[in-house]
């Protein structure tokens, strides 16, 4: 990679709660789809057709537009063998790439470590959301987690402190200054506190530097993607952003829930890429969307239960748009316990991003060698 080229950036967007594959990319002409979805199906006259078999969900118009521009790769049938149908377990598997044992090290944390082995940039990886997903957990790798970019900082929640806050932050910095002979734990705490303060100070600048004609919606996912755009455009060297939206766990009353989720996500995604393009910054970043598994083929009357095979997306100007892998068969005899049989291992999907986009060795990150795709 030439040195004049900007570092590649990836945004990981987690659809928490198991997004319904069948009603996201709809096999609208498949009679098995009609049979299985008497209540939670989407009728043929509403869908946004891609070809004579598959269509986008009617609420994904802005995403469909990006697809038509060749900027979206759709990865069909993604998952892994023996899907446990438990949100927590499956999310752990996606986060750690460990389907056989309970893993603790996150794949995205390993990416950050390999991008910045000395931990020089405390903002190399940033999570926008509450708490740190296990995907980002790795000992010794500093990751910043921001619940609200506007108010992010240290001692941000003390009532009546606004006037004195800068002064108190100076005191905080001195309280966390290196002190001789106080022991390893005190030293480590000091370093971590100073790093956090430094990260907060740098991040504070991002919203101030930012201006755009794009007006994001007032939804949680739009706020998070806008924050990501602000930090990305401020050029702070961040190469991995992480955020999540949900809950996609539509057991009950699925149609209106799923509709709202995709309206919010589609608009936020479209606004985000428009924002980047407006700043001429859309070529260095891709966004990957995943969910822990797809949902049951047959609806339960008002919603859908936990399934297996799902769908993932990769979005960006540099993405080779189109369909990858295959839509699993909906024939009853091909289903596994009533679910779509996954036919593409999610670790190959990660490996493609890690190898072909970020230029890192994927094997130690995803735990082996898996079939890669050509979407970047």
């Amino acid at each position: 990679m030439s040195t004049t080229k900007k570092d590649p950036v990836v945004v990981v967007f987690q659809l928490t709660g198991a997004n319904d594959y069948l009603n996201t990319i709809i096999p609208y002409t498949d009679p098995h789809y009609r049979d299985a979805r008497p209540r939670v199906g989407i009728s043929e006259d509403q869908v946004l057709p891609i070809d004579d078999q598959l269509a986008f969900n009617p609420n994904m118009g802005p995403v469909k537009d990006l697809y038509d521009q060749g900027k979206i790769a759709v990865i069909h049938g993604i998952g892994y063998e023996n899907s446990p149908r438990s949100h927590f377990r499956s999310m752990d598997i996606w986060h750690t790439c460990e389907p056989d044992k309970v893993g603790t090290e996150g794949w995205a944390g390993k990416v950050i470590r390999d991008l910045d082995p000395t931990g020089e940039n405390v903002l190399k990886g940033i999570n926008f959301g509450q708490g740190l997903p296990r995907a980002l957990a790795l000992r010794g790798v500093p990751v910043t987690s921001v619940s609200n970019l506007e108010s992010y900082g240290i001692m941000s929640d003390v009532p009546g402190l606004s006037a004195d806050r800068d002064k108190l932050l100076d005191r905080f910095a001195r309280m966390y200054a290196p002190a001789v002979g106080t022991g390893a734990t005190m030293d480590y705490l000091g370093q971590t506190g100073r790093d956090a303060l430094r990260g907060a100070d740098i991040l504070k600048v991002a919203p101030e530097k930012y201006s755009s004609t794009v007006e994001y919606a007032d939804t949680p996912i739009a706020r998070n993607l806008k924050s990501i755009a602000q930090v990305y455009l401020a050029d702070m060297g961040t190469q991995l952003f992480y955020t999540a939206h949900g809950s996609f766990d539509t057991h009950f009353n699925q149609p209106p829930m799923h509709q709202k989720l995709w309206i919010d996500c589609s608009r936020a995604i479209s606004d985000f890429f428009q924002d980047l393009d407006e700043h001429g910054a859309g070529d260095n970043l891709i966004m990957v969307l995943f969910t822990e598994f797809g949902r049951r083929v047959r609806d339960n009357g008002t919603g859908t239960d936990h399934g297996a095979g799902g769908v993932a997306f990769v979005i960006g100007n540099q993405v080779k748009g189109g369909m990858y892998s295959e839509y699993p068969s909906l024939k009853p005899e091909d289903l596994q316990q009533g679910d779509l049989a996954p036919n593409y291992d999610f670790r190959g999907f990660y490996a493609t991003v890690v190898d072909k986009w970020l230029g890192l060795d994927p094997a130690p990150i995803v735990g082996g060698n898996f079939e890669q795709l050509d979407f970047v």
Binding site: F88, G131, L132, R139, S156, V158, L168, T185, G190
Partner: protein
């Protein structure tokens, strides 16, 4: 009247053998005496348990709730409001040691049942506790003993029983694991009752003789038709078990040790302390209460002040106790449970059977910011009843000079020892506006605000991260 030193020691005891206490409680307990308080803590049955009727009347969906964090919130409520602090702390100790997670169990009420079992048996005899653990449905499912069959063993429970729950690596062979696993075949969960139409039922232990391997087994030098109970009786008599348990207890109650996987190569930081705990275990016929008594009355315990990094649960619950606004059912407990999770300790969902890494590994950039903001946010809020009473305490003792203000605040929140670096900043902050004044309403308002800022700064310090 108890002396300052006695109150400081009581603060230490209550942080370790509980989740901390207000200054008023420390004074009262210090007046009763240290040893009397230890005995009181060791006899939880002398005090009523948390009143579940009150709790579940206020939160009707809490008992048996299937979605996190409701059951976590239930536990946080108990940690704050229990009148049996050591019982609750011991339950957390066993949860961290016998780490069972919702990520796989996917059924929070079953985990809540496991915690209730720790409350009931956690201070009894170790073999009894291990038998309860081996029969606990959440544990059976977590470590696959329901898939451990005669003629087709699953070693997961057998292995972890020896490696993580009793002896530690290097003290048994792979054959011992296989033989132990054979002995636990047939220890399983009864068929689950479907949720419809009658509602949710707890899982139950079931012993299936037809699936139990009753052939001869050889385990750690013992041969015979051993079953699970026999394995536990053999395990608890191993010197390795006594040492491993003692070290866990030391790590949790006394001072941070290196991470567990390094224990077979890194010696304990205080071998004599471990010896004392081992002796208590062996002389008492494996009684946990006896070990705790030895520990809490020892000099090594009393001298180990601020030698542990608070776990998120300790930091969140301890701060909430000081803030004084969570001492009855009210909204906000799920937020406290989330706070523990965001700081890196999602209760009832440890990252794996190897549990959380403790000590300085609780701290990373994200978790430190959360710890600081959470604690400073509560401690700096002078409208909260607990913080108000600290303000009143400063006013009543006329701690008006900058040095007295700092000293008074540190005493009322801990008492907390701080490093010279921290002390310099706290004094500089106090000196900036001179003496506190309470003469007029405006003076009082301003002084109150200054106490709040001082408390927030203390809560933001490195020193506050230690228990």
């Amino acid at each position: 009247m108890a002396s300052k030193d006695e109150i400081a020691l009581m603060g230490h005891l209550m942080r370790r053998a509980g989740f901390g206490a207000t200054y008023d409680e420390l004074q009262r307990r210090a007046n009763e005496g240290y040893e009397a308080t230890v005995e009181d803590l060791l006899r939880p049955e002398a005090h009523p348990p948390v009143d579940e009727n009150v709790l579940y009347r206020f939160f009707p969906g809490m008992e048996g709730a299937l979605a996190p964090p409701t059951n976590q919130a239930d536990w946080v409520y108990r940690m704050i409001n229990t009148r049996r602090p050591l019982e609750e702390k011991v339950a957390l100790f066993w949860h961290q040691l016998f780490a069972t997670g919702n990520s796989k169990v996917d059924n929070p009420p079953e985990l809540t049942q496991q915690i209730a079992m720790f409350r009931e048996h956690g201070m009894g005899r170790f073999p009894d506790l291990l038998v309860e653990l081996a029969r606990n449905p959440a544990m059976i499912y977590w470590l696959d003993n329901n898939g451990n069959h005669r003629g087709a063993i699953n070693e997961n429970w057998g292995r972890e029983l020896l490696e993580l729950f009793s002896m530690g690596v290097g003290n048994y062979s792979e054959d011992d694991i296989k033989e132990a696993s054979r002995a636990f075949t047939g220890w399983t969960i009864a068929p689950k009752i479907p949720r419809n139409p009658l509602g949710r039922f707890y899982w139950n232990f079931e012993y299936r003789p037809e699936d139990h391997d009753d052939g001869e087994k050889s385990f750690l030098g013992h041969t015979g038709n051993l079953d699970g109970d026999d394995i536990i009786q053999i395990v608890v008599r191993q010197p390795a078990t006594a040492r491993f348990l003692a070290r866990h207890m030391y790590n949790f109650f006394v001072a941070d040790e290196p991470q567990v996987p390094s224990w077979n190569i890194t010696p304990p930081r205080d071998p004599e302390a471990i010896d004392a705990l081992v002796q208590a275990y062996e002389e008492s016929d494996f009684d946990i209460r006896a070990m705790l008594r030895t520990l809490l009355l020892s000099d090594f315990f009393k001298e180990a002040r601020f030698e542990r990094v608070k776990s998120p649960a300790e930091l969140v619950v301890g701060t909430a106790i000081l803030a004084g606004n969570y001492n009855q059912p009210r909204p906000g407990f799920p937020a406290l449970a989330f706070e523990c999770a965001y700081q890196g300790q999602e209760l009832l969902n440890p990252p794996s059977v190897e549990s959380w890494h403790t000590g300085s590994e609780w701290i990373d950039g994200g978790s430190l910011v959360r710890r600081v903001n959470f604690a400073a946010g509560l401690m700096g809020n002078t409208t909260l009843p607990g913080i108000r009473s600290i303000v009143d305490g400063i006013r009543e003792r006329e701690a008006n000079s900058p040095a007295e203000l700092v000293e008074g605040c540190l005493e009322l929140v801990g008492p907390l020892d701080v490093s010279q670096t921290t002390m310099n900043e706290l004094l500089a902050q106090a000196e900036e506006d001179g003496y506190l004044r309470w003469e007029t309403e405006e003076d009082a308002r301003e002084s109150e605000q200054r106490v709040g800022v001082m408390l927030a700064l203390i809560a933001a310090s490195r020193d506050y991260q230690f228990a």
